[in-house]
């Protein structure tokens, strides 16, 4: 009886007793959710274009952030001053590096594997993951770095709003992360839904051969989506790096996009957004109100449980395409 009370009554009592904490939890969930959505979007873009689950998306987040911080340090060593000039120059150069990476992936990984089974392409992204881990460590070292948030003029500090008998703390970097991620998600959604490249992307997703037959350049599309995924990775790396630090542990967070994808569907941009928000808010509420019942620390698996519950009713995800294969 006591357990039922703790599960079904007490958490809601707590929400009523300390509504400021509920608002804070929802805000934290929203920020995490938007960032998860951004990461998931990187996966969705590549999956739509090539039918490949890009296992390397997580390490691309780390690699992009490390490149930015590393190039900034290099520019400062070469005497580029002031700091914000070096920071923006490093940002431009990093975007260039992500473009080179997209071209290299297309030339060296995807092109030789055209028309191979999806599992082969999936395994190739595993290889790419280890290559980027090794390359990142070789060039930038394994130790953590501090994100150059100040030089990029990202806001710091917090706004404390007194409300509901308590206070809610809004970190300015979280507000910026939510805004930037939302703008990027919306921009990419519009770009891929309403432009010529977007239509070409959908054609490539349906069939490589059919797309080739109507004159769509597979190479061009792949470079575009891998570059877009690289930009998404860079934005995620900057935001999450500023909230914490730039380390190889960020790769693990990026894998949080997995339950988001299961929930939202691998092919749906709106699915990535809605899935990200459900997972972000769901895991924060779960950890805060129900976590202590299970000894806390449930956040690491709760997202998967939420995704699995949805899967029971919609195996294709909330917005995913129902795939029927006739044998």
């Amino acid at each position: 009886m006591d357990l039922l009370y703790k599960i079904f009554i007490d958490p809601f009592m707590q929400m009523g007793q300390a509504p400021d904490l509920l608002v804070q939890t929802l805000w934290e969930g929203l920020v995490s959710g938007v960032l998860y959505a951004l990461i998931a979007l990187g996966f969705v873009l590549i999956f739509k274009a090539s039918g490949v689950f890009n296992f390397a998306q997580g390490i691309m987040v780390v690699f992009a952030a490390l490149t930015l911080v590393g190039l900034y340090a290099l520019l400062r060593r070469w005497g580029v001053a002031p700091g914000d000039l070096a920071a923006y120059l490093a940002l431009l150069l990093t975007i260039g590096v992500m473009f080179v990476l997209a071209v290299a992936v297309e030339r060296l990984v995807l092109r030789p594997l055209v028309n191979q089974p999806d599992i082969i392409l999936f395994m190739a992204t595993f290889g790419l993951t280890y290559l980027l881990i090794g390359l990142g460590q070789l060039v930038f070292g394994g130790e953590s770095k501090v994100m150059i948030a100040e030089d990029l003029h990202l806001p710091s500090g917090s706004i404390e709003v007194k409300m509901l008998g308590g206070f809610v703390n809004f970190q300015k970097i979280d507000i910026a992360a939510a805004v930037i991620a939302s703008v990027m998600v919306a921009g990419l959604a519009v770009f891929f839904q309403s432009t010529r490249i977007g239509r070409a992307l959908r054609a490539v997703a349906d069939s490589h051969r059919a797309a080739l037959s109507v004159g769509i350049s597979l190479e061009q599309i792949w470079i575009v989506v891998w570059f877009a995924a690289g930009i998404v990775a860079l934005a995620t790396g900057i935001m999450w790096g500023a909230r914490s630090e730039v380390s190889f542990a960020l790769e693990i967070i990026a894998l949080k996009a997995l339950p988001v994808l299961i929930l939202g569907g691998f092919t749906s941009i709106p699915g990535a957004i809605v899935g990200g928000l459900i997972i972000g808010i769901g895991e924060k509420l779960g950890e805060f109100y129900w976590g202590p019942l299970l000894g806390s620390g449930i956040e690491s698996w709760l997202a998967y449980v939420i995704a699995l519950l949805f899967l029971l009713y919609r195996p294709q995800g909330l917005f995913g395409e129902r795939i029927i294969e006739r044998i």
């Binding site: 070292g141 909230r243 380390s247 806390s296």
Partner: protein, 440 residues
């Protein structure tokens, strides 16, 4: 095609280098299990470099120890227990004189193997607290202090701040810990002390996968408002925890990290607001010690260190140096006891078991005041030495307390009991057959 061949060739060559080079007979083989990659590299790179650089300095300056070269080889574990055990299996055939696992998870896995393989395990201030009992764990050494000593020092410290240990009654104390064997280690001791002193212990586990995503955990802290927080964190978890504590306005001078939560890269990323954060340590920081100057001269200046020059002397780097001081002193001791220059694991076990690094000896090797003197005996493989509290001033750590000794009357009986429990839980645990040497 060329690229394919290049990659294939590199992979083959790498595997040959790792597996085929035997330790030369004229050398003392010291494998270091390190992690310069992964989520914990922020701590691991500094520790690994400190360990390697001191031993390499002895090679460069003195030609090794007692005229025998030291063959120092790193094996990358990524702080992953599975990889660590693989590393152990890989190095054991090369007759190592000691293995440094540098992970509590790895240490717990290889403790049962040590007596069988006759390889001493040095887990300096980490690993299984109960392994301080030399009677049941003759091959395991964990000086200068156990995690239980550390947690008791924390309780003693906050007791002092509150006006006495009796004033802790009714207080709420939080433990923020990495949800792994390392992080969980102080829980039994803190639970026992909570009972004895009447404080309430709140547990806040951080799963490794959420090391950089702790906001909901800190909302729990905000709700519970513990009077003091002790953190048993590591790697990327630490700077994130400090940032989150700042976010909920938790007073930094009531937030105390254990000795693996007080690296420069733990506090620095949080910026000026981390000012006031406290941490225990048992070694000094900085380069203002002759021993560090020697490392700079013989290793760093020659470009033989893997650590950035400007970071030499940071807390975890110097911690690594202290680890190697213990190894080097144990080797000298073992050479003296056994009368052999080329010692093996059994000799080093005897060297470790009779190790005494006095204040005079620390001065002699250029480490005066660098760490507390330590003594290991046949019965006590730890020493239960003290540590002190340092405070982050926004740019560096400053010592803010005297050396604090552990609450031995509470810790030692628990260690004895835990040691007995370990043996009874592991049927067939070998009875100690190794004779005790006289202290050197």
């Amino acid at each position: 095609m060329k690229l394919k061949h290049l990659l294939l060739g590199t992979a083959t060559l790498t595997s040959m280098v790792v597996t085929a080079i035997p330790a030369s007979a004229a050398e003392i083989y010291i494998p270091l299990l390190t992690y310069r990659t992964g989520a914990f590299a922020v701590s691991g790179a500094a520790i690994g470099s400190g360990m390697a650089d001191y031993l390499n300095m002895l090679n460069e300056r003195d030609g090794g120890i007692g005229g025998v070269k030291l063959n120092v080889e790193e094996c990358e574990t990524g702080y992953d227990t599975k990889k660590g055990v693989e590393c152990y299996e890989q190095v054991k055939s090369k007759n190592p004189i000691v293995v440094n696992p540098y992970s509590t998870g790895i240490t717990l896995q290889i403790i049962p193997k040590a007596a069988v393989d006759k390889i001493p395990i040095l887990s300096m201030a980490y690993g299984l607290s109960a392994s301080a009992d030399g009677q049941n764990f003759p091959w395991i050494f964990n000086p200068p202090a156990t995690y239980w000593d550390g947690a008791s020092m924390f309780v003693k410290y906050i007791g002092g701040k509150e006006g006495g240990l009796d004033k802790l009654k009714g207080k709420k104390i939080g433990l923020v810990y990495l949800d792994a064997p390392y992080g969980k280690e102080p829980i039994p001791l803190l639970e026992a002390l909570a009972k004895d002193y009447g404080f309430e212990l709140k547990l806040y586990p951080v799963p490794a996968s959420e090391a950089q995503n702790q906001s909901s955990l800190w909302l729990n802290v905000r709700r519970d408002r513990p009077d003091w927080i002790y953190m048993q964190g590591f790697g990327a978890m630490n700077p994130t925890a400090i940032k989150e504590a700042i976010k909920i306005n938790y007073p930094m001078d009531h937030f105390v990290g254990n000795w693996w939560s007080g690296g420069d890269d733990d506090a620095r990323p949080a910026g000026p607001q981390a000012k006031g954060y406290l941490s225990f340590t048992f070694n000094q920081t900085g380069t203002n010690f002759p021993i560090i100057k020697e490392i700079e001269k013989h290793v760093v200046e020659k470009g033989k260190s893997l650590f950035p020059k400007e970071k030499i002397g940071e807390t975890f780097y110097n911690r690594g140096v202290l680890n190697s001081i213990i190894i080097a002193e144990a080797i000298r001791n073992a050479q003296k006891i056994s009368g052999k220059k080329e010692i093996d694991g059994s000799d080093l076990r005897r060297g470790l078991e009779t190790l005494e690094i006095s204040a005079a000896r620390l001065k002699e090797i250029g480490a005066e005041g660098f760490a507390s003197p330590m003594k290991v005996t046949c019965e006590d493989h730890n020493g239960h030495n003290g540590a002190f509290v340092t405070q982050w001033d926004g740019t560096k750590w400053n010592k803010v307390s005297d050396w604090i000794s552990p609450i031995k009357e509470k810790v030692n009986p628990l260690i004895e009991q835990a040691s007995k429990d370990y043996v009874s839980a592991n049927a067939g645990w070998p009875k100690r057959s190794e004779p005790c040497d006289k202290s050197s």
